[in-house]
Each structure stands twice: as structure tokens, then as C-alpha cells.
């Protein structure tokens, strides 16, 4: 695992994440006084402690976990496909994962603890397994992208079919709301369900780092580099699928973060696909914790959806960064 060395960048980003995280736990709809903050640290049964540690903290951790998973998966996809437009959804894993969750919600099983998460994860794993087999056998990224587009269309159509055949408008609204992406009302048990696949995905993705760097020179050079490319390519896809599945299971479908996070750090790591991984994960976490904080605190009649906020605020920023980085996209 050769991820390069960027201790200052990683330290700086970790500091920023800690700061955003502190804000996310400290600020919210219910204003707290200094005495109440103090009480939250010394008396776990107090109301302020409940708000901070059992409502805001799991929500912030969920946002950070989803953001880092999407940021890392995006960086892996862009490196694997040598394509700056790739994101975690490009291979169709988000779509199949969303279909799994939508089906369970429409069947009225959403109240069963962990059912939606497991269904989303299941959808991601089925797609991930198919893509991993394909990635190990195919060397052309275009074929993988085309297969991903097909899988994405299939997942989207299947989800639309769920809407189409759903007997209850309540269930339909619930599916739609879930598809817009949110970490509202997530508790520690929700976080726990997604942690295992997310951590596994992160370890697998980081293991494939050197292969991503080698792929910058093309498939044929990589094939003769001495690295076990079929295995590493498969691992990168499997890892990204696990990360995407974990993110969708915890927060629904959230776009943009996986596409933007790698671009926000690429200039600081000399464009190196391997060195992009860890900073992308941290930037993804910062983006999503900040976006969730905004979603919670921006005054509106109803809480804004996380996926909506990330796109609304992130897209202009991303356009600006992309404009600056455009010269490095030349072939």
C-alpha cells in the first residue's frame, strides 16, 4: 500500500473536519446555554447530553461516514476509469442499492430495524459482485462504464417500477423522501450497521492504491508492471461498491460529493490517484457534515434534504475548482 506522504495536508484536513464536527454537535435547532453544554459533558442522563450525544453526534458521525465513503469511492472510480467525470454512481451500484431500499420501503417493511439498510447493502453487493467479476476480466474501462450504465438504467427502472406498482401513496412519498438523501434521525445503531462495510471498503480501496496510480499510464503498461492488475482492479471495484452500498444504506442517494471531493484535493497531491484517496475521504466527510449542518440550521418550513443541499451549495464551488483544474484534464 503506497499512498504517498502528505502529512501536512492530511493533518490540516483532519483539523478542519474536527472543527466542522464540533460545530455540527454544538449547533442545532435547540439553542443551548453554556451551563447546558457543561451539563452535557458531566451528566449523560441530562437532556442536553441526550441532544448532543444521542441526536446530533450520531447524525454528524453518519454524515462523516457517508461523506468519507463517497469521497473515497469517487476517487477510486476516477482513478480506475482514468476519468475525471466518474463518481460512485457511474457503475450503477447506487441505483441497485436504492432499488433494494425502495422495494423494502414500498413493501411496508421500513419499520423493521435494519431492513432498509440491509436491503440497500444487498442491492449494492449484488451489483458489486457482478462488477468485480467483470473488472477482473476486462481491461478496457469503457466496457466497465457501459456495463455500469446498463446496471444504472436497470436499477433506475426497477425503482420506477416500485413507484409505479406501489399501492400506497404514503409509501411512495417515503421512498421519494429517502431517495433524496438524509441523515436525519439516524442513531448509533444505524451508524453501526453501515460501519463494517464502510471500513472494509476503505481498507480494500486503499490496498488497490498503487494499481490506480499505475493505471494513469494505461492498461497495457499496467498489465506489464508486475502488479497483479486483475486482482487489484477487482478489489478497487469491490471496495468502491462496499463504500457506496454503506453510504446509500445509511443516508439514501447523495450525489455530487463523490464527484467533487477528489477534484477539491487533486491539485494538492500532484494529481496522483493514490495520494488522492485519503484526502478525498476526509474532504467528503467535511463536505457532508457541513452540508448537514446547513440543512439543519438554514431556516425553512421543513428541514432541507441533505442531497439537495450538497448539490445546491457544492455545484458552484465544484464548477469553480473544475475551471481551474481544466488544464490537467487534457489527454
Amino acid at each position: 500500500m503506497n499512498l504517498g506522504s502528505d502529512p501536512r495536508l492530511i493533518l490540516g484536513l483532519t483539523g478542519s473536519l474536527a472543527a466542522v464536527f464540533a460545530l455540527a454537535i454544538g449547533l442545532g435547532e435547540t439553542p443551548l446555554s453554556y451551563i447546558q453544554y457543561h451539563q452535557a459533558f458531566i451528566d449523560m442522563s441530562s437532556a442536553p447530553a441526550q441532544i448532543l450525544w444521542f441526536i446530533r453526534a450520531p447524525r454528524a458521525v453518519a454524515a462523516a461516514l457517508v461523506g468519507s465513503a463517497l469521497g473515497l469511492a469517487g476517487a477510486v472510480m476516477q482513478g480506475l476509469l482514468r476519468n475525471p467525470l466518474a463518481d460512485p454512481g457511474v457503475l450503477g451500484v447506487s441505483a441497485t442499492s436504492a432499488f433494494g431500499a425502495a422495494l423494502v420501503i414500498a413493501l411496508g417493511l421500513a419499520a423493521t430495524p435494519g431492513a432498509v439498510q440491509m436491503a440497500a447493502l444487498g442491492g449494492a453487493l449484488v451489483a458489486g459482485a457482478l462488477l468485480t467479476l467483470l473488472a477482473a476480466r476486462l481491461t478496457e474501462p469503457q466496457t466497465l462504464i457501459l456495463f455500469g450504465v446498463a446496471l444504472s438504467s436497470l436499477g433506475g427502472a426497477a425503482t420506477a417500477l416500485v413507484f409505479n406498482l406501489s399501492p400506497s401513496p404514503v409509501a411512495t412519498a417515503e421512498v421519494l423522501s429517502w431517495l433524496l438523501g438524509s441523515v436525519a434521525n439516524r442513531d448509533w445503531s444505524d451508524v453501526a450497521v453501515a460501519t463494517a462495510p464502510a471500513v472494509a471498503g476503505m481498507v480494500i480501496c486503499l490496498w488497490s492504491a498503487q494499481a490506480l496510480r499505475m493505471l494513469a499510464l494505461g492498461e497495457e503498461t499496467a498489465a506489464l508492471s508486475g502488479l497483479r492488475m486483475a486482482r487489484l482492479r477487482g478489489a478497487a471495484v469491490a471496495g468502491a461498491a462496499l463504500l457506496t452500498g454503506a453510504a446509500v444504506a445509511l443516508a439514501g442517494v447523495i450525489g455530487f460529493v463523490g464527484l467533487a471531493a477528489p477534484h477539491l484535493v487533486r491539485g494538492r497531491v500532484s494529481d496522483d490517484p493514490a495520494r488522492t484517496l485519503i484526502p478525498s475521504a476526509i474532504v467528503g466527510a467535511i463536505l457532508l457534515v457541513a452540508a448537514d449542518l446547513a440543512a439543519r440550521t438554514i431556516p425553512s418550513s421543513e428541514e432541507l434534504k441533505l442531497g439537495v443541499v450538497t448539490a445546491l451549495f457544492g455545484a458552484p464551488l465544484f464548477a469553480m475548482v473544475s475551471w481551474r483544474a481544466a488544464r490537467s484534464w487534457r489527454g
Binding site: 499510464l217 494505461g218 503498461t221 498489465a223 508492471s225 508486475g226 496522483d272
Partner: protein, 272 residues
Amino acid sequence: MTEALTLAGASVTLGGHLALDGVSLTVRGGEVLGVLGANGGGKTTLLRAALGLARLTSGEARLGGCPVGSLSEFRRALLAAYLPQERRVGWNLPAWSVAALGLPHLPPAKARAKALSALAEVGLGALAERGVMDMSGGERARVLLARLITTGAPLLVADEPAAGLDPDAQLQVMELLRARAAKGSAVVVSLHDLTLAARGCDRLAVLAAGRLVALGPPEQALSPEILRQAFGLDGGLISTAFGSVIAAGRIAKESNPDNTGEVNDRREGLAR
């Protein structure tokens, strides 16, 4: 000395047609073998087959005396390194980082030291930190050559490394490959420029429609008969004060577009 590369009756079928037809040759350390032929003649297929990237339909390819199919990825990389025709680098990596990819198994500091040494060898020591997309085509070609050198493999295979470069950069690339051969490496290089091949290679393998039609020193492999058969050119190798050059004119082909077939002997007078 063990042959760095051996092809014995190697044939490859691509899309239902024979792209390489029973080619046999060997390459030893210290020599530069040029692979020539018209577009679609089988040059790249020969290189890919030799390295195990194209599946042989018959015959055998050996690297360092071992059948290429029996080698692990790691062992194959120890025996041969490849510079493919495609020179696109996916990201704007610094030159040293690209050159260091020749040794992906080494610790980063050691790989960087070797990469810097290879960049100095190709005359780009001062540009080690520059992004490859911010370089000229010639500089980028030399960076990729530095990666090839960094591998330290006894067989270096380069597919059209001089394509698209200005005359000075072309000569530079050939000189760098010759320098590696002088240090004991076996070099196999496919080229389109016949004069460059005649000057820079010890032996030439000339392909026409996948078949090896000549294998030998330039004056033998670029005889008027071979030029006519493989390239549809009327001409030959001429010695000048600056080295050998090819002087040839195109022969118009009215009835049969196949280079190996009968040609109409009407000269168009195009000098190369």
C-alpha cells in the same frame, strides 16, 4: 547467453484474420532489433504476443528462456518492460512520479531515487517535478522512456517511441535506446521511419501482412525487393556522409491494394 526474447512459429488471430503468421526470431542482450512494416502489418501484434499481451493461436513466445504464459506478473516484469504506442498519461503527474512507476514494488524513496537517475539519463533531470501534461510531446516521450529504463528489465520493448516527434527528438530516443543496449539490455523497437531504423538498429525484422519477410542487418532487410514487397516502395538504402538513408518512391497500386501482391509498376515519383 540466454535469449532475452524468442518467438517460435508465433501466430495470432485477431477478429478472424491472421495478424501474425508463424513468426520466428530471437533477440539477445546488447542488440537493438527494429520491427518494421506497413500499417496493419503486425508490428504491434508481434510485440504484444512476445510479451504475453496477445494470445498465441500457435507457436511459442519465451522471455529469458521461459514460456511467457508460465510467468507470474511479477516475474514477467523482471524480464521485460513495455512502452506501448499510447502515450497518454491519465493525470498530470510529475515526471519523477511517472518514471518511478517502473518500479512499483520498491519503497517510494528508493523508486524516486532510481526515477531521478533515469530522468537524468534521458536529459530531463531539471524537469523532474514538472507535470507531464505541461511538457512537450518530445519531453513526455523521454519521461516515458525514463520509466522504461527505471524498470531495469533486461528486455525493453518500445512500440513506435519516435512517432510524432521532431527529427532531433527521434534521434534522441534512438540514441537512448542504443545506450541501453550498450549497457547489455536487449531492445526491441517498432518504427515507421526506415532511415531511423537503418541507422539506429542492429537488425531489422520486416513484416508484411503478419509474415516475417526479412530478418537481418539493415542493408539486407531493406533491400529493394523487401521494400517493394513490404511497403510497395521502389528504392533502396544509400550510404551518405551522414549515415545511411532510404531513398524510395511510391509504386501506384491500381488493381491490388495488398502490399504483398502484384503491383503496377507506375512510379508516382514521391520521394521519401
